[in-house]
């Protein structure tokens, strides 16, 4: 097991730092259903961490615990060396955790730019009345925020749809806009809930490249849920495998691939 403060070096030579997010013995129940059963794992600075598992394994619930949307009945969430008290999702966002959703959750009627700008919302300090008359601090803030958004737009190569209403975009681009909105908040930890679901091969390749580039360029720590095994094994540094709410594997893609429990969960076991 790795030490909490010590990092490690990945196969491709990237330096991974200490623990950023530490999930300790998390249990989450919905009435009588135990969605997550006593799971512990950590996410380290600068790494791409994947959470995989069959349908209904509790992956999205796990992500929702990290993002503060669900409060676990048992267990502790430690973020940057501190135990996180019960928080509202927006407070979690203010701490520097941003996410995208499995089912795209954008403002359909608004332009791409406006959607991306909403990613800056938690950073806007000017009071509402000042923003309404758009003077002084509010104006300065808007200019600063727009600059950051434009860099993200440039980074994700969506300049040509900057002013297009989101409703008019194809699915693959909407996913990219969602990523843009998450990036606009300059997150320390980025949570991606099935970023490639429903995409064709080309779109998946683009998205993989963007995820790698985000990690490389901004040093953003990324936790992602994904179904496409090829993508997961290529992208991630370490993988957590869940099945029926339990953790059945944790380690590098190669370790996980060789894990008998994981093979059983994915390929099924004969019962004779």
């Amino acid at each position: 097991m790795l030490d909490a403060t010590e990092g490690y070096t990945t196969a491709d030579g990237r330096k991974i730092g200490g623990v950023v997010m530490d999930m300790r013995n998390i249990t989450l129940r919905f009435g009588g259903v135990e969605a997550i059963k006593d799971i512990s794992f950590d996410i380290r600075e600068g790494e791409i961490r994947a959470i995989i598992g069959p349908n209904g394994a509790g992956k999205s619930s796990m992500l929702n615990v990290i993002s503060g949307f669900y409060v676990p009945q048992e267990g502790e969430v430690w973020f940057r060396g501190e135990k996180r008290p019960q928080m509202k999702p927006y407070q979690v966002a203010q701490q520097g955790i941003a996410r995208t959703f499995q089912n795209i959750a954008l403002f359909e009627g608004m332009s791409v730019l406006d959607n991306v700008m909403t990613g800056r919302l938690t950073q806007m300090k000017a009071p509402l009345w000042a923003q309404a008359i758009w003077k002084g601090k509010a104006e300065r803030e808007e200019v600063e925020n727009r600059e950051i958004c434009e860099k993200v737009i440039d980074f994700l190569e969506i300049q040509s749809i900057r002013k297009t209403p989101v409703a008019r975009l194809p699915y693959g681009l909407k996913k990219r806009v969602e990523l843009a909105r998450a990036l606009a908040s300059e997150p320390k930890l980025l949570l991606l809930d099935e970023p490639m679901a429903g995409m064709n091969v080309e779109e998946k390749e683009d998205m993989s490249r963007f995820i790698l580039d985000v990690n490389d360029e901004f040093g953003t720590t990324i936790a992602l849920i994904e179904h496409d095994m090829g993508v997961v094994m290529d992208l991630s540094d370490r993988v957590v495998v869940m099945d029926y709410g339990k953790k059945i594997g944790d380690g590098t893609p190669d370790e996980v691939r060789a894990n008998q429990d994981v093979i059983d969960a994915y390929l099924g076991v004969s019962h004779d």
């Binding site: 491709d12 434009e150 860099k151 300049q159 040509s160 080309e202």
Partner: protein, 657 residues
């Protein structure tokens, strides 16, 4: 030759012109690029500083006089500066097509022996790395956009801004050397080497001297009265001679501002924002725009549609005459003014053509309807005829003598003669020096007296003195009946129909002509939507009987029009089929500049050609295709072959002239 702009003999290179502009137009915008949603501007004096820093950096990296520096990327000010920086240190810039695959690049980079490569981003870096083992002379690569390149081995890789920083730091050390090299540049030094895409065989490196470029820029700028106030949008490939002449030659000669779009996809928005006053586009851009306008007008409200139709009909009648300054009645002028207010003005604004003073199209023949559409709106769209070897200009259309079917009169300083076989030859100060490392091709193309063979067949109209181009001289051949076979002439007529994207005519050595046709998915798709024709794929739409009916009527109309010309009446299409896939440069069926490779298509689809001549009514075929990500696949289809009505004519054997 002394001119009002200062004698050309004073400024015998692009760097010399740069220095002049930095003095004369110091605070005037020279370049703009949209980045992060805002137009960033550089003045001429800033540009000189940037280029100097890069040139010093190149010296620092060890660029020698006569070295080749390849430049690969989309139109960006930094890459334009790279070319001039390379020239400043006595090196020769070689711009490459950025969408070329690695092997194509390997050939050009190996042929010119580029020691240095300046590229835009990771995509291009990867391509060069992929082929670097084949390149013995390659040493250093400089990139603009650092994204994704952090982990790359940087022993031979340098970031553009770092090269500039190092250049600035080493200014003391190298500035004298830079000045010496810059000032030694003369008219006979090579300005640029441009590789032509070539419809056949390997690309050839056209060596253009400073004389070629500066003279071409000077005379063409004077011809169209270009001033330092012009705005152009640089969006065509940097490896293409036209872009080099417009964005660098004329830009540096007159000192106008070159605007670079944010990305290839935002070109239309950027065009609107800039509103260029001098604009160049190949016919397909104008065609595409017109198709978009027409499709959108189909969906407009009845009132708007009626207004559009009424005023466009009026514009078609009097617009070109008003543009040419011919007499037009007061009433018609008044109605045209009203149309300008209600329809033409807003339309031009939407297209980004509000300020266009001079517009050019070249490269392919443009459809008369398309040409007239833009001219009737009051856009001074003209045609020119040119090629890389001529530094673009061979013939141009003077204001007031613009027509769709000719390419104009000889450009200033250009002499033209027509060879015995109908081939066009020219001689001018802008005619190229040679093909790099290819004396045989040079000798084949340019004779001792400086006459250059264009490879195109054409003739001068007797009454107007305008040149008309029929086809490539080598493509013009004979049917087995002896009648003239000019495929391009007929293909162009077909392509003027919005429904037809490409056409390929066969008939050389046969007794009649047959054709392959590609539908235009945009136009036909929109038609299908309006007429409740459902389809699931390109292939299905292309094979739809109603689509075939429509194409058949177009083919028959072309046959009627071809039959009117006794010399070409043998080129009527007897049978045709609509191809099940779009012809694509990735499959080698088109050149990178989207010209049809007839021979390759004929060989690839030989079963279809045989079926067309064999009298079958349908044929099953399998075709290998390459997808955008490089994977190979197969398309299977059964194609219907149709007979088209032809106008009976007396076969006229081509007279041996």
């Amino acid at each position: 030759m002394a001119t009002s702009n200062g004698g050309a003999d004073e400024y015998r290179s692009i760097p010399a012109l740069l220095h002049r502009n930095a003095t004369r137009f110091a605070d005037k915008p020279a370049y703009r690029e949209k980045e992060f949603g805002i137009w960033q501007t550089w003045t001429w004096s800033q540009v000189e500083t940037e280029i100097e820093a890069l040139a010093l950096g190149l010296l620092n990296l060890g660029v020698n006089k006569g070295d080749f520096v390849a430049i690969i990327g989309r139109n960006r000010p930094y890459l334009y500066w790279s070319m001039v920086a390379a020239q400043s240190v006595g090196a020769i810039p070689v711009p490459l097509y950025q969408d070329a695959v690695a092997e194509e690049m390997a050939y050009v980079l190996g042929h010119c022996g580029a020691r240095f490569v300046i590229v835009s981003d990771q995509e291009q870096v990867d391509k060069v790395i992929e082929v670097q083992d084949q390149l013995h002379q390659f040493e250093h690569m400089i990139y603009l956009d650092a994204r994704g390149l952090r982990k790359y081995d940087h022993s031979r890789l340098h970031q553009y801004s770092h090269v500039q920083d190092q250049g600035r730091a080493a200014r003391e050390e190298y500035i004298e050397e830079l000045k010496r090299r810059r000032e030694s540049l003369d008219y006979d030094d090579t300005c640029v080497v441009l590789y032509t895409s070539g419809t056949t065989g390997k690309p050839k490196g056209v060596v253009l001297s400073n004389r070629n470029i500066v003279e071409a820029a000077r005379s063409s700028s004077e011809f169209d009265h270009l001033t330092a106030g012009e705005e152009v949008l640089a969006y065509l490939p940097m490896a293409w001679v036209g872009d080099f002449i417009f964005s660098i030659g004329q830009g540096y000669w007159t000192g106008f501002c070159v605007n670079c779009p944010e990305s290839a996809e935002t070109m239309m928005t950027d065009l609107r924002e800039i509103g260029p006053s001098y604009f160049f586009a190949p016919p397909r851009v104008f065609e595409g725009l017109l198709t978009t306008v027409m499709i959108r007008m189909e969906d407009a409200t009845p009132l708007k549609k009626r207004m559009f139709d009424t005023f466009m009909a009026h514009a078609k009648r009097v617009g070109p005459d008003i543009l040419d300054g011919k007499p037009v009645s007061f009433g018609d002028r008044l109605k045209y003014r009203l149309g300008e207010l209600l329809v033409y003005g807003p339309l031009k604004n939407t297209l980004g053509f509000s300020k266009v003073r001079v517009g050019y199209t070249a490269g392919e023949a443009i459809g008369p309807e398309i040409f007239d559409f833009y001219r009737s709106l009051g856009i001074n769209l003209k045609q020119l005829y040119g090629q890389t070897e001529a530094s673009v200009f061979i013939t141009v259309q003077p204001d007031g003598e613009v027509r769709a079917d000719t390419v104009g009169v000889p450009a200033p300083g250009v002499e033209i003669r027509i060879g015995d076989n109908g081939e066009v030859f020219y001689r001018s100060p802008s005619a190229f020096v040679e093909y790099y490392k290819n004396p045989e091709s040079t000798a084949d193309t340019k004779d001792a007296e400086g006459w250059v063979a264009t490879g195109d067949a054409g003739f001068f109209e007797e009454d107007t003195g305008h040149l008309r181009i029929i086809d490539r001289a080598k493509d013009v051949s004979k049917l087995s009946t002896g009648a003239m076979f000019a495929p391009k002439y007929v293909e162009n007529k077909l392509k003027f129909f919005p429904a037809i994207l490409e056409a390929v005519l066969f008939g050389a050595g046969r007794d009649h002509c047959v054709a392959f046709i590609n539908i235009d998915l945009n136009a036909v798709g929109s038609w299908a939507e309006r007429n409740n024709v459902s389809y699931a794929s390109y292939q299905e739409l292309a094979g739809h009987p109603k689509v075939l009916d429509q194409i058949q009527s177009h083919v028959e109309e072309v046959n009627r029009s071809v039959a009117e010309d006794p010399m070409l009446s043998g080129c009527q299409i007897h049978r045709f089929l609509v191809l099940h896939k779009e012809l694509d440069a990735d499959d080698g069926e088109l050149t990178r500049t989207r010209k049809v490779r007839r021979k390759i298509i004929g060989e690839k689809f030989d079963d279809l050609v045989e079926a067309l001549y064999g009298g079958q009514s349908s044929i099953y075929t399998e075709t290998a295709v390459t997808y955008e990500d490089g994977r190979q696949g197969k398309i299977k289809a059964t194609l219907e072959i149709r007979d088209a009505r032809v106008v009976p004519v007396q076969t006229q054997p081509l007279a041996a002239e």
